[in-house]
Symmetry: C2
Subunit: 203 residues, 2 copies
DNA sequence: TGTACATCAGTGAACGCGCGTTCACTGATGTAC
DNA sequence: TGTACATCAGTGAACGCGCGTTCACTGATGTAC
């Protein structure tokens, strides 16, 4: 072999990291296989030694991106107790930083509407990756059972993703910030102060 | 003139309606100018007698789509009192029907992540269209002042759009329905039962 | 009223371009002997 | 130890394709006289 096994694995990882970043930054259509390889100082032909095609790369990129973000969110909240952790998580997800840097952020908030339109064979893998994402963050959700925490996740995360998307769609920076801070206040109040899914706190 | 002024206006409107529908269905990249014209029984060349280019069409399509949806939502809630109207609106927005038919639904929920990446010259016009959308639906929002109602809109709508996007990304129909019904219950409880933005109900 | 002309929505070939993918090839290194 | 060969990551020309846009042209109808 010309290159060692470790070399190949390392190149593959770099391609994946670049793809995960660029897809989130520019969308999956605006980034070509050649663009990604050029970013690594390689040419497009070699790409097919690492991935079956662009579609396979996209699926792995989404998996990679979601893993990176759930790892980061877990790390940021690792030493905090439950309510603090959730408040911190919401603060991070709905931060100016996250709004300005989709390339390092949640893949669902960056690519959601186009992922929803991919053919079923892709969406299956993507849905699994989203399930793992939820699994990783489940312990940070409010609720007494996994089922309650799961239900909370599935309202909170899509909702926050929608608000982030709205903030990013704005042209006026002040409007973007208002959307973010309004959403932060809302979700912190609704998910940190009291259980969100079950209904018994309404007298 | 070969064709009457009314003819031209009618063709333009049909192009716009088709574009608004197909963009929402397939995304803006997956629909070509030729596709849209073919749908009208026309050829691609004539397109440029009606629009400056695809980008201009996209902007007008988003405006058209948002207007159609706000008109429909206003119509559906026209004869209802405030809390009923809001509950109905949330029920419509987070319905199975809306999930299954992005082509007739909210353009922000269908195209949000790609709209957020368009060049600024587009996003300006799109942001204005989103402002008009909000304006049209403001009276249905909870709150005592327009500012409160506006703040509620800017949490509620992006959040619902995110949940719709999540439901559409799922492959399993039951999971999609659960996401929708969970979101419906949450938003109805949080926005219909009590003021959502101001904080004084927390004793 | 009839005739000549202007208008312009719509046609379809052509443009340059970038895409995803394929493939014959290169050449450094591991392996077999 | 040296030599011949196999491996395969990476190269870059080439493929077919579809895109947005341009443009010379058509031809039905409105307008001027």
């Amino acid at each position: 072999m010309r290159y060692s096994v470790e070399h190949k694995a390392a190149v593959r990882k770099r391609i994946l990291d670049t793809a995960a970043r660029e897809f989130r930054r520019k969308g999956t259509n605006a980034v070509s296989v050649a663009d990604i390889m050029r970013d690594e100082g390689l040419t497009h032909g070699g790409f097919y030694r690492h991935f079956k095609g662009k579609e396979a790369l996209l699926i792995e990129s989404v998996e990679t991106a979601l893993r990176q973000v759930s790892d980061q969110l877990r790390k940021e909240t690792a030493n905090l107790n439950r309510p603090q952790a959730l408040e911190t998580l919401i603060g991070f997800y709905l931060s100016e930083e996250h709004m300005k840097h989709p390339e390092r952020g949640c893949a669902f908030a960056a690519l959601g509407t186009e992922l929803a339109r991919y053919p079923k064979r892709c969406r299956g893998a993507i849905a699994l990756a989203l399930d793992r994402y939820r699994e990783q963050l489940l312990s940070l959700m409010p609720g007494r059972t996994d089922s309650e925490r799961g239900a909370n996740f599935e309202v909170l995360f899509p909702s926050m993703a929608g608000c982030l998307m709205a903030a990013r769609a704005q042209v006026d920076a002040r409007r973007s910030s208002e959307i973010l801070s309004g959403a932060r206040a809302f979700f912190i109040r609704r998910f940190c102060a009291e259980p969100a899914v079950s209904g018994q706190e309404e007298a």
